[in-house]
């Protein structure tokens, strides 16, 4: 059977961002997939050399719109560890609340795009309608829908008033009801299962060997979640990683669906335990040394390496985003799947290219 080489992307209806895949196809079955990047590379890490370490918060927030809060959280936690700053307890809980709101809107965005990838347009619009409630919450509590800019070195810049806390709880109840109403469709619909079950299978040993993170790893049955490190206030909240054993596109979707409900639970826990106190600690001096920081972004483990020599600027900031860690798995998942299933498998890793290329 002759082989053909088919370009997939960088512009494709299913891709929100540009990535190119060179697909070697034999009789409509993928034999090899090689990714090509470089369409949105910005070199943001280099800005660490000319922006001071406080200004870098605004830079890292712009690595990715969908998970901007997680980038600044990881960065400030790395700087705080380097400078020995103890963050006030209230700020730690507030960070959890906004981080989980971010996870919810990211997962709901993805669930909608996933439905779109197999042509379920009404489900796509229904999920995004629910997501709007989270975006409204973010705007009402931070002043911005996407780049919420709440983290500062030493704490947070905003508080939640009692009225805002009640508004969050009321909205979360509505969101929970609406998300649960879609559960049967999302997880048991015949067409969705036909398009996602058994597609792009990644065994647990493959996922670990390929360095996968987040829902891709947990969807292959591996119970790893960076929140278990206990950063912010996660060490005082009760949760277990959401794990699904099947390792296919359906399992990865199920993990994200269940994580939306888990985030609602975590926000309720955090609000019920929210302590009184300061929003931030004072920051004196400049960072010096070398260290790493990790947080659980919606797409998985986010890793920062920071090196500072005591000056205003950092000498190196290195950002390893979850999609960067999950792309090698995509190269492994695609061989053997039909060309028509490529959009579904690609979407199943929740690719964020602006994160990947920074």
């Amino acid at each position: 059977m002759p082989v053909s080489v088919i370009p997939f992307g960088p512009q494709h209806p299913v891709l929100p961002e540009p990535i190119h895949l060179k697909l070697t196809v034999e009789d409509e079955v993928i034999r090899e997939a090689v990714p090509a990047l470089g369409y949105v590379h910005r070199g943001l890490e280099k800005l660490a050399e000319i922006r001071d370490f406080q200004q870098m918060i605004q830079i890292v927030e712009r690595v990715c719109g969908i998970c901007s809060m997680m980038h600044s959280l990881c960065y400030v936690q790395g700087i705080e560890a380097m400078m020995g700053i103890e963050v006030p307890p209230r700020a730690k809980y507030l960070r959890v609340i906004w981080a989980e709101l971010h996870r919810m809107h990211s997962h709901l965005l993805w669930l909608g795009l996933f439905a779109d990838s197999f042509g379920f347009e009404s489900l796509f619009m229904e999920i995004w309608k629910i997501r709007e409630k989270i975006m409204d919450l973010q705007e009402a509590t931070t002043g911005n829908r996407v780049i919420v800019s709440v983290n500062v070195i030493g704490g947070v810049r905003r508080d939640l008033s009692p009225e805002q806390q009640r508004m969050i709880l009321t909205t979360l109840k509505d969101v929970e009801d609406e998300v649960r109403r879609l559960e049967k469709t999302l997880l048991d619909d015949y067409t969705i299962k036909k398009r996602t079950k058994g597609k792009g299978v990644l065994r647990s040993d493959q996922a670990l060997e390929l360095g996968c993170v987040g829902p891709v790893l947990r969807g292959s049955g591996v119970a790893k979640d960076t929140r278990l490190l206990g950063y912010a206030a996660y060490n005082e909240l009760s949760f277990q990683p959401v794990v699904e054993p099947d390792g296919d596109c359906h399992a990865r979707g199920k993990v994200r669906y269940r994580e939306v409900l888990q985030s609602i639970d975590l926000i309720r826990q955090a609000l019920s335990k929210l302590p009184d106190g300061e929003l931030s600690a004072s920051v004196r001096g400049r960072p010096e040394g070398e260290g790493t920081a990790r947080v659980e972004q919606p797409r998985g483990e986010l890793f920062y390496y920071i090196r500072a020599d005591g000056g205003r600027q950092l000498s190196r900031v290195r950002i390893r985003t979850p999609t960067f860690a999950n792309l090698p798995a995509l190269v492994t998942m695609l061989p053997g799947v039909y060309l028509s299933d490529v959009p579904v498998v690609v979407m199943s890793i929740d690719p964020c290219i602006s994160c990947t290329e920074r």
Binding site: V5, V34, P35, G43, L210, T226, G289, E290, A325, A329
Partner: protein
């Protein structure tokens, strides 16, 4: 704050990574840092049971570092990224983009590296991901 990293030599870096793989470590990523105009640090980060372990390879920037992709295939992206941004070469890369993962021909060579660097593509045709490649 200082980060503990185990120093390795170019001859032993692949073996050290293979030992960690055998011990059940997950490959997290690699980091390249320009130490000065001549030397680079290449850090290898691994995770096991939520604990990180780091290897440090200090090497002249015109060296060819043995690729760890025969051990951890997932390293092919970050090794190509370092090739692009620092001009450091990796020998035995599983998928070699030949300095074109992120940067096109008109872009500055090795923009993250201090001082001049030879980051010209090696011979061997177009990179594997090039949509116009006839491979």
């Amino acid at each position: 704050m200082s980060m503990e990293a185990i120093a390795v030599s170019p001859e032993h870096v692949v073996g050290a990574c293979a030992e960690r793989k055998a011990a059940g470590y997950r490959f997290v990523t690699m980091t390249c840092v320009a130490v000065d105009e001549h030397m680079l640090d290449v850090l290898y980060h691994f995770d096991k049971d939520m604990e990180l372990e780091h290897l440090r390879l200090r090497i002249p920037k015109d060296s060819c570092v043995p690729s760890i992709t025969p051990v951890f295939f997932a390293a092919f992206l970050v090794e190509n990224e370092i090739q692009d941004l620092f001009g450091l070469r990796f020998c035995g890369l599983a998928i070699d983009y030949k300095h074109s993962l992120y940067l096109d021909e008109a872009a500055p060579k090795a923009p993250f590296c201090k001082g001049a660097v030879d980051a010209s593509p090696r011979p061997g045709g177009k990179p594997p991901g090039d949509p116009e490649s006839s491979e």
